[in-house]
């Protein structure tokens, strides 16, 4: 059941919510139990088997976590506690690995050694990548003594809570559980208004904008996947168009998840903060899929950096201090952990070479950005501290490299990605849709002489629609405040408060309020989205 379906909006959500409020009148426990049950129904809707796969994994994780909690009481159990943690992480990684990577691995071995392992059809349980990360984080947090005592119900609710079940935001136990314990489980007017507004903003982003662009981006990638040449214009527009599509698709989904959770009185963490406005790639990753970045930083990058630093200092080599940065230290303590972390991120997104390259590219981009900062600090220590923004040039460069990397994210094969990239730099020439030529008169001859080709596969209508959708989406992504900025006064996501900038000028005038004016605006946005319902339209991130 997709968030953007009549089933969900008119059936599942209102029924679940109404019964939740009714139970809430009697007791919080019963309302929360109902929420667990409803979440299971939501998950089972696709395939009953999904539940049969996930429930045992929840039970095993719960038992391991309980054991960790008991062992944590006494310092003398540190070894046993560590072993339990390692076993738990190994179980989850193996669980994910079996469903997600068996075929990729077998295929890669076949490619490399000419073997003939048979690829079996393994069905990927929905959202398993997200669920697995969340479970691993929980085990590490219990081991680190950051979790108060918990019951099976607490744990099941934390994992299964349906707004964030399939594709995040990736939440920490310690940020949602206190909210469930305090939740009134009753109707609350403000929560209802804020939640519905976020939900409909997200629905609009997904159904209107992302699904609006998608049909005009797909033919370009399909052509490239067949190995047929793509010239500059469609290649560039395909890359930028998809970057906008995935931004509105995934941030739209995240807004919807955040909005739905709020209807139940729970605030989820912010996942997107206008990442396409970023002026450096470091800045970009602090604003794109924020909950993944913080997961990777806390549970992969930081432990790796600590381990590498210990090893390096124990050998008497220079570390990565602010003043005496050596190239060796940069490679070992910055580039290595960064690239490795982003490699894991790439692999986590999808079992394929294209995702691995996407991750590695971002690892290299981030390393260069960090290296540049260190260099600046060394050359001009006084200036560098205050000047972390990359300005206009930084914005253009960031947008360009993000779009280039996105080609690997979208293209189904390396071959397809290379066709688009080659097209972007002009290997396949400059071309315009053939039908446009017919309307150009004498100009057509001139263009022909300057070697502008005719793209017979690309219709002028497609070209025009892609231009229109891309311009609209680009304008909204770069010039408008985002949904959580509009609602900043109502803490739409955990910890989101209006910044100084947002309390003045145009931001202040645009600030959302529970008023008739905004009710009409939100209704218009919702109608624009709902009128475009039709056909299957999955969220891009639900495949992971």
């Amino acid at each position: 059941m997709l968030f953007n379906s009549y089933q969900f909006i008119l059936g599942f959500l209102p029924v679940t919510l109404a019964i939740f409020y009714i139970f809430g009148r009697f007791s919080r426990t019963s309302a929360l139990r109902w929420l667990i049950f409803a979440s299971l129904v939501f998950y089972a809707w696709w395939r009953l088997l999904n539940v049969a796969i996930i429930l045992p994994s929840i039970l095993i994780n719960f038992l391991l976590a309980q054991r960790l909690q008991r062992l944590g009481v006494d310092e003398s159990n540190r070894r046993a506690s560590k072993l339990t943690l390692i076993a738990g992480i190994a179980f989850n990684v193996a669980f994910l690995g079996y469903f997600k990577y068996t075929n990729f691995l077998a295929g890669a071995i076949n490619d490399a050694f000419g073997t003939h392992f048979i690829l079996t059809h393994i069905i990927l349980p929905l959202g398993i990548s997200f669920i697995t990360f969340q479970k691993i984080a929980f085990l590490i947090d219990v081991h680190g003594k950051r979790i108060e005592p918990f019951t099976f119900g607490d744990y099941a609710l934390f994992v299964l809570f349906f707004p964030q079940l399939i594709a995040g935001p990736i939440v920490h136990y310690r940020e949602v559980m206190p909210q469930f314990r305090r939740a009134s489980c009753r109707f609350n007017g403000t929560d209802m208004c804020v939640g519905l507004t976020m939900f409909f903003f997200g629905l609009f982003k997904k159904v209107f904008l992302a699904d609006g662009i998608a049909p005009f981006v797909s033919p370009i990638y399909e052509r490239a996947a067949h190995g047929d040449p793509v010239s500059v214009l469609p290649a560039l527009m395909g890359a930028v168009g998809f970057t906008l599509q995935i931004y509105f698709d995934f941030s739209g989904y995240s807004d919807m998840a955040i909005g739905i959770a709020r209807l139940f009185g729970v605030r989820l963490p912010l996942n997107f903060d206008s990442p396409l406005k970023a002026s450096s790639i470091i800045d970009y990753w602090l604003r794109w899929h924020i909950t993944l970045t913080r997961f990777l930083t806390a549970y992969i990058y930081n432990p790796l950096l600590l381990w590498l630093t210990r090893r390096r200092l124990a050998r008497g080599r220079p570390a990565l201090g602010g003043r005496n940065v050596t190239f060796g230290a940069f490679l070992n303590l910055l580039a290595l952990p960064t690239i490795l972390t982003m490699f894991i991120s790439g692999l986590w997104h999808g079992a394929g070479y294209t995702f691995i390259i996407w991750g590695l590219l971002h690892g290299v981009f981030l390393s260069i950005n960090h290296g540049w900062r260190l260099l600046k600090a060394k050359l001009r220590p006084a200036q560098a501290k205050h000047d972390q923004s990359g300005g206009i040039a930084g914005f253009v460069l960031t947008f360009a490299i993000v779009s280039i990397a996105m080609v690997f994210f979208r293209a189904p094969t390396l071959k397809g990605a290379s066709v688009i990239l080659a097209g972007m730099v002009g290997v396949h020439g400059i071309g315009l849709p053939a039908s446009i030529f017919e309307h150009l008169g004498p100009l057509a001859n001139l263009l022909q002489r300057t070697r502008v080709g005719r793209e017979t596969w690309w219709s002028a209508v497609n070209f025009a629609w892609l231009t229109a959708w891309t311009s609209l989406a680009l304008g909204i992504a770069l010039l408008c405040p985002n949904s959580s900025q509009l609602l900043a006064h109502y803490e739409p996501a955990l910890g989101v408060r209006p910044t100084d900038q947002e309390q003045r000028g145009a931001f202040a005038r645009l600030a959302w309020s529970p008023s008739l004016k905004w009710a009409l605006a939100v209704a218009a946005v919702a109608a624009a989205a709902i009128l475009r319902f039709g056909g299957p339209s999955e969220f891009l991130y639900w495949q992971f």
């Binding site: 680190g144 930081n302 210990r310 200092l313 201090g321 602010g322």
Partner: protein, 84 residues
């Protein structure tokens, strides 16, 4: 070893690390209070402390320390648990 002695030792470690002899740490000092004490130098500092005192912090602990005083207390606790 007392908290004061550990703190003095910490101050010396950070002065050497950042090359700034004007640094004076107190239990309530936070990272942002000291110029140049960025995230890399924080990890360097923690590892230098580990080496100096022969202790080892957990990853979660390293992330959760808010003030210098918390690192001092944890170091003392670890020293008591396993005297050198």
């Amino acid at each position: 070893m007392t908290a004061g002695e550990v703190l003095k030792s910490f101050t010396q470690i950070l002065r050497d690390l950042l090359g700034d002899d004007s640094i004076v740490l107190s239990p309530s000092t936070r990272r942002i209070d000291v110029s140049g004490w960025d995230s890399f130098n924080y990890v360097n500092f923690v590892v230098a402390v580990e080496m100096k005192f022969g202790v080892k912090f957990g990853v979660a602990e390293v992330e959760s320390f808010q003030t210098v005083g918390e690192i001092v207390q944890r170091t003392l606790a670890l020293l008591q648990a396993s005297p050198r």
